[in-house]
Amino acid sequence: MPGVKLSEVTKRYGKITAVDHLSLTVHDQEMVSLLGPSGCGKTTTLRCVAGFVIPDEGKIFIGDQEVTRVPPEKRDIGFVFQNFALWPHMTVHQNLAFGLRLRKVPKSQIKRRVQEALALVRMEGMEDRYPRQLSGGQQQRVALARALVLQPRVLLLDEPLSNLDAKLREEMRFEIRELQRKLKITAIYVTHDQAEALVLSDRIAILNHGKIEQIGTPEEIYQRPVSKFVASFVGICSFIQAQVIKLSSDGAVLSTEDGLVISTKRTDLTLGQSVTLAIRPEFAEVFFSRPANDVNVFPAQVARFAYLGDNVDCWLKVGQWDLRIRLPAFRAISAGQQVWVHLIPEKIIIISEEK
């Protein structure tokens, strides 16, 4: 099964550039998520691959074939819609069989293939139901089966889980991921839900303003974001602006405007450079009494907190900076309480954006 390649794809709607010279390669059997806020161009990009939208510039390849101007029905793709888009006047069987019938597949084979596809999504025995007789989750399983029954070259999914409730959404993530692995199908998955992207993808492409900000494995995206946008979009992140004041083979030492001196392990910075420190909740330790170690230890005040059951989501004020961290739930804390926070040098992310 072939991959998908987008080269310099651009789509404008009037004055708005929805997709801006976007290039992306999805390898054979790979699952890539397009992740971004609404209006970032992720759905338009997917619709370009499907052929529902014809880009103004650029080229799209499925395998070795250029499909930029090929109509959707000739692209051999499977598409799963956010609103399921099952045909309400057809039964589950008819929904799945429609594409096979158009391809003139013999009747006996149609029956077998429909049943196989329904078994894949654990919807056996539902052939004669109408879509309105199914729950949202069941409808989306049928929609998935409808896309898979034709054994398309590429599976395209447009926020397929966002109309389902939270619990079901979590289950379906794993199911879709397992199906994609089992069938070894190339897939592009559009979502605005970072957790979904982290669970599902081989690689995640973070989109903003019609461009890819960063593409990489979930680990790369989470641990080494290249911009503040990526860092704040995937996972929780606090930011501190600082300048490099000292360089050594051990790492750079930074200082903030209000005099916090922070040691890091980065050695590729230049003296005087302005950078952003990105700190994830798990990159900081909190002490309730002053610790012996005083490197990267700063006094902090609890600004506000929210009890989440297994832990406490806590906003600290460190100098002029806000720091969001997680505390174990068994520790009683109160707003205004004095604590000490230790920023772990090895873990601090340094973003040197030119902006």
């Binding site: 499907a50 052929g51 529902f52 109509p71 959707p72 029905e73 000739k74 051999d76 793709i77 499977g78 598409f79 819609f81 609103n83 888009a85 099952l86 045909w87 309400p88 006047h89 429609f98 594409g99 158009l102 391809r103 929609a143 409808r146 896309a147 034709l150």
Partner: protein, 275 residues
């Protein structure tokens, strides 16, 4: 208990009122159609019988009964309504699909064009059309009247059909393309069945509009083409019996049409009309 009683009373009154508004005039019409003699101040007809019905249906000829055979007018009405409805819907379906789906720069202009005959009084338009129709040899002919009916019906046809197509999510079409259906196959297998309730409403509306069309037929068709509304017009005012017979006859095709379509279409299609 008290609340239930009030509700029941209210329901009865409302239903009674509706029944009276609908069936009151209708029963009066039925009564008039069988009244041979009915003079003031009598509450009920002094003499009843089927003489006007028989005369209208061509079963008898009696100079004392002021009614003519309606068969020619009935035939004309049906032919005109049938052809006008088929043509109108044939034009309206593609036009409505285009209006519902594509961003046409000329869309407002297009709708305005069809609104025009409804914004202006119809009479001057038809009067102005008459010389042209006469020049083209269409005045006083069946084709001429059919063309006028199409012009009158097209607005409703396109309007209702457009909203029928608009109500269908685009993703249902896209889903069809994604499984390999061409635009044409999508139209037949997905769009048409889903738009059926809307198309049905539109068709009934167009059919009834043509069946009862008066002004255009009056200017273009008379005196050579007579339809049921023409007969009704000339009978109304002085001949209540014959007018009542005609009014009831006019109801028949519409009722038949509705019963027929209800039989053909599945109930869920009709149920979706209100969406």
């Amino acid at each position: 208990m008290g609340i239930k009683w009030h509700k029941f009373a209210l329901k009865t009154v409302v239903l009674g009122l509706i029944a009276f508004l609908v069936f009151g005039p209708l029963s009066s019409v039925i009564l008039w159609s069988i009244a041979i003699k009915w003079y003031w101040p009598h509450v009920w007809p002094q003499e009843i019988g089927l003489a006007y019905w028989k005369q209208a249906l061509g079963l008898q000829r009696d100079w004392a009964i002021a009614a003519v055979s309606i068969w020619e007018a009935f035939r004309n009405s049906m032919i005109i309504a049938f052809i006008a409805t088929c043509t109108t819907m044939g034009l309206a379906i593609p036009a409505a699909y285009a209006l519902a789906r594509f961003k046409l720069p000329i869309k407002p202009l297009f709708l305005l064009l069809f609104l025009m005959p409804k914004v202006f009084p119809q009479q001057p338009i038809f009067v102005n059309l008459l010389p042209s129709f006469t020049r083209w040899g269409l005045a006083g002919t069946l084709p001429g009247v059919i063309i006028i009916h199409i012009l009158v019906c097209l607005l409703f046809g396109i309007w209702i059909t457009t909203s029928a197509f608009k109500a269908i999510p685009e993703s249902l079409e896209e889903a069809a393309w994604s499984v390999g259906a061409t635009k044409w196959q999508t139209f037949w297998h997905i769009l048409m069945p889903l738009a059926a309730p809307g198309l049905l409403v539109s068709t009934i509306f167009v059919f009834v509009t043509s069946l009862t069309e008066f002004t255009g037929t009056f200017f273009i068709g008379l005196p050579f083409i007579t339809t049921l509304p023409m007969l009704l017009y000339s009978a109304s005012g002085y001949n209540m019996q014959f007018a009542s017979v005609l009014a009831l006859v006019l109801l028949v095709p519409s009722l038949l049409f509705m019963v027929l379509t209800e039989r053909i279409f599945r109930p869920e299609y009709l149920g979706a009309v209100g969406r």
